[in-house]
Subunit: 460 residues, 2 copies
């Protein structure tokens, strides 16, 4: 225990980032608070906890108000947090005092002659701060703040930050997608070498799909980026995601709309996902985002870019016209057993123009709702089928139920994700001139939203 | 090409199974039909297709009526089907004629003294036949038929087959779950050493969860089994799934409700999934079913049973009372961006008693719908939150939206699957005496529907 290295707590955190307040013991209560107060320890201190025959060293971090009162949580050098039950603690001591870093007040200036990269802020965790009194996260940091938090960005690009909208992503509406798409288009016209859209991760897949349809043939890369942990928290994934996106915006040779997020939990490697084939598959993990039905198109690390897909569209300077119109008259309906006809009829009567169903298996709903679906289609409504399985392809020719739905006019969407199908339908409803064109657009691959069948129709 | 082995086509198929009609060229049309007719080849023949510098050998299988007319599909020795474009075919010849196997007319008799295993049929692909005129699958085979298709079952158990209900699984209703659960209970009372429930895979996860709640503390293993390919098709996974389930019903030392399906695509290994933690994650793959958030509890192959989970309930003879009551007044609502208040209000007004929301991320919906949700709860409705991410845990304390929903009375369900939560709510609505008891039941782990947190509340 003597000779324990005196680590600099600041080294644990990115440059210029306020890790947390070190003035108090935020979030600690009861037995845990008593132990910490008794030892004169504050949040941010680098401490050692003695356990029976073992010890743990780390930086004391705050707790949420609603957490229990029997654990002390420290951040290990590895970056992971670990909670230690106070009953196990036989001793505690401070190895180093907490630092008091603060936000830098103004962004550094970029070098002349660096390529222009636009960062468009739309809210979300990547642009939020933790309120450690409640453990809560509030939308607060502007795109400019982010820039000031990551001064190294000024070494690689001339950053043009702008807030387009500032909402938690679950509150995003098609009208926000319209604003974002129009703004990306403006940035491209102004000569941006690439555009970064920072957004909340909750509906990031829906948003990246929406932008993929509105920005078809965009001549530069557009990276949709978020973080699972807010930018002012020591374990935030925001830094690597944003730095990687800016780096690729400058140097990547491909164009199109992609999601850029952690590829794994290592904080070293990013995955670049096709904007129409990506899904948030975990509530909290750094590598929550996964490409479905295909590999990510590329991986990025500080060592460079590994292209996986050989057929990405090249950067181009040809004519590009955004089509940033969406219609909120579409809904996504996940089928479940015993779904009542009253339920389905009430939805269809709520003013919808189109419905994406996440059916079961190959694309099914219960038979008793087929008539209502048919009536909606006969009256001009658009109904498309995807699968709640997530992986695999709908095939409505195999079972009676599927054939009945096809006969009613339901449009099968191959292996399109339900979330992508909803964004696409909102875009199609605003951009197709006729019901025939709607159907044709929904079943045409416009932005890589479906993958090709690997076998041409094996039968058994 | 000379010296090609004369394989017995029958060896490719399980005993006693009609692979398909060999009287015609069902499903083939146009160019493909012309090539096959020209060579005098019938479905079921073992053939060789010459390609440029290559050749493919396999058994000709039928095609669906709606498939294209430019591919010939053969089943390789590996069991896989491959479609060959007729344009690539430079020659074709028959190596062996198709067999004409037929269904055996009556089940073999089991040996005296073998343990009793009940097989309860409820419909689904595992109990269906392909109509090769349309490529369609119809519910047709009874549990007794299945038994006659797999005579080896008579070597290990005294099988008692019974049809409880016969519907495609997407048409299953809570009243069907009631019948199935009651029948399982009867079988246990009659001394069954294990019970197999064969069912369609579409809503198998919902059904296995429903049975898990209705059959808590069941003293024998109950295996919910299906197949992704119908039992009369050569590539069916029905055989191994059913044989493995019967084998485990006889010999496994644990009790409880589990799903038994292929662990991978090899047709050699089965996974045993906890009935409340399993999800159909692929529309068509044999290994579509996956345990979410934990390993399968066991793997089975003809070599034996590999237990993964050390803490499964043991077989027991204690008192067991099924609680086979469900209430169809619950719905599952997957949130999507811009979900309209008219949509949500119409659902809440459709006569529901409870609602499971699949929110985004940690458990969110858009702010504009919180008031309607609160109104529904204030009027006595039950609303619970899961995540559409599928993996990970809801945590509604992190963001404003989550806290607003908690304040409105929404009940967070940890890492429970949305599908499981719906089945549980239907069971709770029928079995709880008060609104307080409903909440308590929803948040108590009754049948392994939630997993424990791995860290006691790290904060960053």
């Amino acid at each position: 225990m003597n000779g324990a290295p005196r680590l600099d707590a600041k080294a644990l955190f990115p440059r210029g980032v306020t890790a947390f307040s070190v003035d108090d013991l935020t979030g600690y209560r009861g037995p845990a608070l008593k132990v910490l107060e008794g030892a004169g320890i504050k949040i941010g201190d680098f401490i050692e906890l003695q356990l029976s025959g073992d010890s743990v060293k780390g930086t004391l971090v705050p707790r949420y108000q609603n957490n229990d009162d029997r654990h002390i949580v420290v951040k290990l050098k590895s970056g992971y947090n670990v909670g230690i039950g106070v009953a196990r603690v036989s001793g505690i001591r401070r190895l180093a005092e907490g630092e008091r870093p603060s936000f830098t007040s103004s962004p550094p200036k970029a070098e002349d002659g660096l390529p222009l990269v636009s960062i468009l802020g739309t809210g979300g965790t990547i642009a939020s701060r933790v309120d450690y009194r409640t453990g809560a996260v509030h939308a607060a940091i502007s795109a400019e703040d982010l820039y000031s938090l990551m001064p190294e960005l000024s070494d690689i690009a001339n950053i043009s930050p702008e807030i387009v909208v500032s909402v938690y992503s679950e509150n995003l509406e098609p009208e926000h997608w319209e604003k974002i798409a129009a703004k990306v288009s403006e940035c491209v016209a102004r000569g941006a070498r690439g555009v970064i859209v920072t957004t909340g991760t909750d509906v990031m897949g829906y948003t990246s799909a929406a932008l993929s349809f509105a920005l078809q043939k965009v001549p530069v890369p557009v990276f949709v980026v978020g973080s699972q942990r807010s930018s002012d928290r020591p374990s935030s994934d925001a830094y690597l995601n944003l730095i990687g996106a800016v780096s690729m915006a400058v140097s990547a040779e491909f164009s199109g709309v992609y999601v850029v997020m952690h590829a794994d939990t290592s904080d070293e490697r990013l995955a670049v996902h096709r904007g129409t084939r990506v899904r948030k598959n975990h509530t909290s993990a750094r590598d929550a985002f996964r490409s479905v039905g295909l590999e990510p198109v590329a991986y990025w690390s500080r060592g460079g870019l590994d292209l996986v897909s050989p057929s990405l569209p090249k950067r181009g300077s040809g004519p590009f016209t955004a089509r940033p119109r969406f219609d909120a008259g579409a809904a996504l309906l996940k089928f479940y057993p015993s779904m009542q006809t009253a339920y389905v009829r009430s939805i269809l009567d709520s003013g919808l123009k189109g419905l994406v169903i996440e059916g079961t298996g190959l694309g099914h709903i219960n038979g008793k709702n087929v008539a209502a679906i048919k009536g909606f289609i006969d009256a001009g409504g658009l109904v498309c089928m995807t699968s709640q399985c997530i992986w695999g392809r709908v095939d409505m020719n195999v079972y009676d139920t599927g054939r009945d739905l096809l006969e009613a006019g339901v449009v099968p969407l191959e292996d399109m994700l339900g979330e992508t199908a909803l964004s696409k339908m909102m875009w199609v409803l605003a951009n197709a001139a006729s019901s025939g064109e709607r159907r044709a657009m929904m079943t045409s691959d416009l932005a890589g939203e479906t993958t090709e069948r690997t076998l041409p129709g094996g039968s058994a």
